[in-house]
Symmetry: C2
Subunit: 364 residues, 2 copies
């Protein structure tokens, strides 16, 4: 088992990564609050891993309440926050309870937000079962639900008590979702870690084959990179925004296509290709660097083209994205592989050229 | 104008109390974020003070978006959080916006919670227009909405950027609501400040006549007392619970009567009478002290008897109250006037005797 720590003063917490650790009561014992436990999961994950987690908790005399949501992004709604809190209230759960988020990013986001707001905040543990959740959403305390007018527009920064990433749960992950998670992994190399980016270039075959040692390396390294950024800027006052490389374009792609057509990581992959293109147009990176980025994303089996829509549609969703301040869209761009920069000062014509250069219509 | 500070490190903020300060742009200029401003208010308050606040903001070139909710506790719902955030999204408001909560406790709670969760947190200012909101809910960062199964069960600790309490807005406050606010004022004397309690005994006539100097004294002193407790325990880990004197009984009275029959302060007043009675039964205070407490609450024109209902009804709501941990009801009791104690160790028989002693049926 590999363990590391997210350093946030009183809100610090450990991340444990390993094989079969979901079945280890000794790992859970020190991170449960003194009250009862509830598991929040979805109907894809429940048949696979719920029984294991339940047994682990029962071994600690914490027979859990189980709350199973329909799988999918549509579950990230305020209605489900009302539903979850109602079930906790009916069960008489007080402030000393613990929620366990067992599942992917959707479950982690909504369970974390339920924990943030139930009785003004209770303890919760992230138990991610997808690569994307392990390397991204379970670390850093971003929680929330969607508003009909925008994704993640209602939420909170609320740190978990611990993250338990059992790599065995990735065995059941469909290939498309696995590759979607790799988009965020590649992102850490791009923004922060040239060495890790090169390692990924050299070892992508082992990663795609899900070799055990490659998985621990990928997850551990990604969590460490993210934890370092989060520790320096918990509330996204500045630096943390570099984690959104590819997300300004990516969110616009997800929103403009009505969510669901692209997995989050797929949209981010296209967004990173666009961010690299925009960076090259602004002479921040060389064409050879842009080509390496394109090649690694392509080599991970990720998409690199956005669907053909009027550019105005994308631009509208980019303006309402929460990275925008008063209508000014901020972009995360690259100054090189391993170095990101945040800027609001991008010529609209360049953004338009990038959008048009990476739309399916032009390349079909 | 009287000013004081809530000391919470990076989250510290000023409280300004005075006559006509709602019309002072210079007071608002340093506490607005750089983005646009939205006012959240209700349809009772809007006709009275909205125009003044709008003019003040317009003088600062911040023409505000106005969101007016129906007056009343029913507005504290997740549905209205969805509504408010939708209006902010439609207006294109980013993370650099500021919300102003113009109204009583309901407006402050829901606007504060909307600020806590909109895009994971934006800045907000409390502009309380009731005595209760000025001395209690606007200070300390408790925000939230109700769940059909329990009051304030969904919320967050989220501090405002400032509190602006214009005593002129109390001119329009109905007598019953003014007295309801006095319940919380009396509470501060009881839990923390014997001298203030004695001052209230000597000056209740001036307070009830709403003499300007008496109002500033009452509000300033209450805010100072509350700010001190909050500064020592922001997240209600322990000490802060003493602010809930009278609230365990009070919330049960509000819940058992379906909310609306009693104003919050009225229920707290009855709850404080009960807490004093329970304290005397447990030999924590003398009968003479209980009598002084009863007399001051009665003298403020507040109710002292709960409606006749089966005690089991009250006990059920006390158990689900969020001050309960795993079914153990914690009581805030008195060891004397000016000294509170938190305990979970209260004989159920004594609680039952107190409930029966202060029910209308027995005294009608």
């Amino acid at each position: 088992m590999h363990s590391l720590r997210v350093d946030l003063g009183q809100r610090s917490y450990p991340i444990h990564i390993g094989t079969g650790i979901l079945a280890d009561p000794a790992l859970f014992a020190p991170i449960l609050n003194k009250g009862p436990v509830a598991i929040v999961t979805d109907d894809n994950v429940a048949p696979l891993y719920l029984e294991t987690l339940q047994q682990t908790l029962k071994a600690l005399h914490k027979a859990p309440l189980v709350i199973t949501l329909p799988a999918g992004e549509a579950s990230k709604s305020l209605d489900n926050i009302q539903e979850i809190t109602g079930l906790l209230l009916n069960a008489g759960y007080g402030r000393d309870c613990t929620l366990c988020a067992l599942g992917g990013g959707v479950v982690g986001d909504i369970a974390g937000f339920a924990a943030a707001v139930y009785q003004r905040g209770v303890s919760y543990i992230q138990v991610p079962t997808t690569l994307l959740a392990m390397v991204d959403s379970s670390v850093g305390g971003k929680t929330g639900v969607n508003h009909p007018l925008g994704k993640n527009m209602i939420g909170a920064f609320y740190q978990p008590r611990a993250v338990i990433a059992d790599t065995d749960t990735l065995d059941s992950l469909p290939d498309r979702e696995f590759r979607s998670g790799l988009a965020e992994v590649i992102k850490y190399g791009l923004i922060n870690d040239q060495g890790f980016f090169s390692w990924l270039e050299d070892h992508m075959d082992a990663v795609l084959a899900r070799a055990a040692d490659a998985l621990v390396k990928v997850i551990g390294h990604s969590c460490k990179d993210k934890a370092e950024v989060v520790a320096r800027d918990e509330l996204e006052g500045g630096l943390r925004a570099i984690l959104n490389l590819g997300h300004t374009f990516g969110h616009a792609i997800e929103a403009a296509t009505g969510y669901g057509r692209y997995l989050h990581g797929e949209a981010v992959a296209i967004g990173m290709v666009m961010a690299a293109d925009l960076s090259r147009r602004l002479d921040l990176i060389r064409e050879s660097e842009q080509n390496r980025i394109y090649a690694l994303i392509k080599g991970a089996g990720l998409p690199t083209l956005a669907p053909a829509l009027p550019p105005a549609d994308y631009l509208r969703f980019m303006r309402v994205d929460k990275k925008a301040e008063s209508g000014q869209v901020r972009f995360i761009l690259l100054r090189g592989i391993g170095s990101a920069v945040i800027t609001g000062d991008v010529p609209p014509a360049a953004v338009l050229q990038t959008l048009q250069a990476f739309m399916e219509y032009d390349h079909a």
